[in-house]
């Protein structure tokens, strides 16, 4: 069992009587983990991070760092450091003094400071920048200085609030790789805030997907993508096809559900929680599209449909397939067998959609079966 670095117990933050920025969050972040808080604007990511950093006091709840209750400690008495979204480098100090700031506060001897600053600037690939001022740096360089300034203190946890938000796409991708490398090199726990799902997916060990002050689901990127348990997560991470479903019975390790047009599909039984009216989903790239009269292996789920629309996207083709004149399903097909002349499947063509039962996920949030329009 890995050690818990950060623990949030029932943490709530209100601003005034009306705004609940964070609503009873419980989190455990493990030692050495790259943990992301992912969610749309205004969902409470920054507020959560600021409470861990000590810049905001929770209205109620408990925050622990390495087993110590720090809920009421000021930022300077917590063994965490922060990389701010706008970097917040001290404009009146040189890069050297910016990076050395934390060590000076702890009265580390000059000689050691010099060594560690040099070493840090090497780690973030900015050697020789000691004498510059923050105003003389590019966005990417400023970002790396902010990282060095935080990491030099060897905190137990590093908090990062959309650290790449201000960078252009190319630099962003480069810095994602760099950040991940640095995190693995120093072995410090990272708590990373972003609203970019791709960024969270590629970098994180685990992600908490947040919405309106709480998190909807917490897990590895793979778990979240392959088995989202709420509509929000299914829609926020990539594209999903959702179908209203009624549970009929069992079939070995599977549950049997009825979906649009009376078709039956199988879903692994352990993904159910006992409700009868649910919503099931499947990712577009998991679906295979076959001619309507083709032989389909018996273990696959299948649905008859008609191609409503096909759009060429280079590496793949996106089809919109109408099922039982009701639901539109999105299907991605790799353009491996595509002919030079055009789509394998044409508009209006009758097809059979087939996918493995294991690729079917079940939405658990309350009311899912009522407001459900397929995406």
């Amino acid at each position: 069992m890995p050690e818990i670095d950060v623990r949030l117990v029932d943490v709530t933050k209100r601003f005034g009587p009306d705004v609940i920025a964070v609503d009873r969050i419980n989190l455990e972040v493990r030692d050495g983990e790259f943990f992301s808080l992912l969610g749309p604007s205004g969902c409470g990511k920054t507020t959560t991070l600021r409470m861990i950093g000590g810049f905001e006091e929770p209205t109620s709840g408990l925050i622990e760092l390495q087993g110590q209750d720090v809920t009421w400690l000021p930022p300077y008495r917590r063994n965490v450091n922060t990389v701010f979204q706008n970097y917040a480098l001290f404009p009146h100090l040189s890069i050297y003094e910016n990076v050395a700031f934390g060590l000076r506060r702890r009265r580390v001897p000059d000689r050691e400071i010099r060594n560690r600053v040099t070493e840090m600037l090497q780690l973030v690939e900015l050697p020789g920048y000691e004498k510059r001022r923050p105003s003389q740096l590019s966005g990417g360089q400023a970002q790396r200085v902010a990282l060095a300034r935080a990491l030099i203190n060897r905190p137990a946890v590093l908090l990062l609030d959309e650290p790449l938000g201000a960078l252009d796409l190319k630099l962003r991708k480069q810095m994602q790789v760099e950040l991940k490398r640095i995190q693995q090199e120093v072995g410090i726990t990272f708590i990373y805030v972003t609203h970019d799902q791709e960024e969270a997916m590629t970098m994180s060990d685990r992600i908490a997907v947040m919405s309106a002050g709480h998190y909807e689901q917490l897990g590895t990127p793979e778990e979240l993508y392959e088995r989202p348990t709420t509509r929000f997560v299914a829609g926020f991470l990539g594209v999903s096809n959702m179908l209203r479903a009624t549970r009929l019975g069992e079939d070995g390790a599977y549950a049997l559900v009825e979906v649009v047009g009376g078709s039956r599909v199988r879903v692994p039984r352990d993904r159910f929680d006992g409700r009868v009216e649910v919503e099931v989903g499947v990712r577009p790239e998991k679906i295979r599209m076959l001619a309507s009269d083709a032989e389909v292996p018996a273990q696959l789920n299948r649905l008859p449909g008609r191609v409503a629309h096909a759009s060429y996207m280079g590496v793949s083709t996106q089809y919109i397939v109408q099922v039982a004149d009701q639901a539109d399903l999105t299907v991605y097909e790799q353009n491996v067998e595509r002919t030079v002349e055009g789509s394998i499947h044409r508009q209006g063509e009758a097809v059979t959609l087939a996918w493995m039962p294991e690729h079917t996920f079940v939405i658990r949030d309350a009311g899912a079966a009522t407001g459900a329009e397929p995406d």
């Binding site: 950093g53 000590g54 810049f55 000021p74 930022p75 300077y76 965490v80 450091n81 922060t82 701010f84 706008n86 917040a88 480098l89 001290f90 404009p91 009146h92 700031f101 934390g102 506060r105 702890r106 105003s135 300034r149 935080a150 203190n153």
Partner: protein
């Protein structure tokens, strides 16, 4: 008007006098205006400096006689003048120091914290600036005189606020200076990024260290500007000082007192010195700020 004139010009064989005038104004108007405005501003100062080199003939330095360095060689050579200047400098110095310290703290807390009465404080801070000086002077006089009467005379030590003198001038100057300092420093605080302070605390600096290492250096130009303003307001204040000075002379009070029977050249000399010092201070602070950025 000028644009129309220019558009029409090619149609005519030769531009008329009016068109030429319009073109000239178009081209040189701003420059002439600027030179005239600056000359207007500098004229009294130029006269003051020029007449500091006048030869003293009779009691009043109103007419040019001959070039002389006599006054410059003996700048404080008038009875009571030296002590008045020293008093002025002392009051300006102390009131600047106190008002800058208090005013800066007020400005920081007004921009930083939400507390009951904050907007009221914001308003009250403006009042001394908005009140006519003569009203303020009169009311201060009333206040100070009353401290010598029952029931206040029982609490307030004798001689502290009455009879009037150094203490009362100082208190009055600190009071109006605070307003100017608060307003000046607040303007600087408005553009201040709070996250810099959070970053400092994040890196282990407590509130005290954060203020001295981050907040103070960053708002220092504003504080310096405020201090210069306070100093210059104090050193040449007349109205409020006149009400609160009693028998003590500051330099402006002394000038006013002596002007009734004489206007010595030395007044121009000291005026020129004060002007020179002010110019040096402003130049110095500008250079300092340039280096900081």
């Amino acid at each position: 008007m000028t644009a129309i004139a220019r558009d029409l010009a090619p149609a005519r064989p030769r531009p008329g006098a009016r068109q030429r005038l319009a073109a000239w104004v178009d081209r040189w108007g701003l420059a002439v205006y600027t030179v005239a405005a600056v000359a207007y501003l500098l004229m009294p100062i130029a006269v003051m400096i020029a007449f500091s080199f006048n030869e003293q003939v009779g009691k009043f330095n109103y007419q040019w006689h001959a070039f002389s360095l006599a006054a410059w060689l003996n700048p404080f050579g008038r009875p009571g003048m030296e002590s008045a200047i020293i008093t002025s400098l002392q009051i300006a110095f102390i009131s600047t120091l106190v008002a800058t310290a208090l005013g800066t703290l007020i400005a920081v807390s007004l921009t930083r914290y939400q507390f009951p009465g904050r907007s009221a404080t914001n308003l009250f801070i403006f009042l001394p600036m908005a009140t006519p000086e003569i009203v303020m002077g009169a009311s201060l006089l009333t206040l100070f005189v009353n401290t010598a009467q029952a029931p206040f005379d029982a609490i307030i030590p004798k001689g502290l606020l009455f009879p009037l003198g150094f203490n009362t001038i100082l208190i009055a100057h600190i009071m109006f200076n605070i307003s100017y300092v608060v307003v000046t420093v607040k303007a600087r605080m408005a553009g201040f990024d709070r996250r810099l302070e959070e970053a400092a605390m994040d890196l282990g600096a407590n509130e005290w260290t954060t203020f001295w290492r981050v907040t103070f250096p960053l708002i220092f130009p504003g504080i310096l500007a405020a201090a210069l303003l306070a100093f210059s307001l104090s050193i040449d204040d007349f109205v409020v000082t006149n009400f609160t000075s009693g028998l003590t002379n500051t330099f402006p009070i002394w000038v006013w007192g002596s002007i009734r029977n004489s206007l010595p050249v030395q007044i121009n000399v000291v005026g020129t010195m004060i002007f020179g010092a002010a110019v040096l201070l402003v130049l110095g602070s500008t250079l300092l700020q340039r280096r900081g950025h």
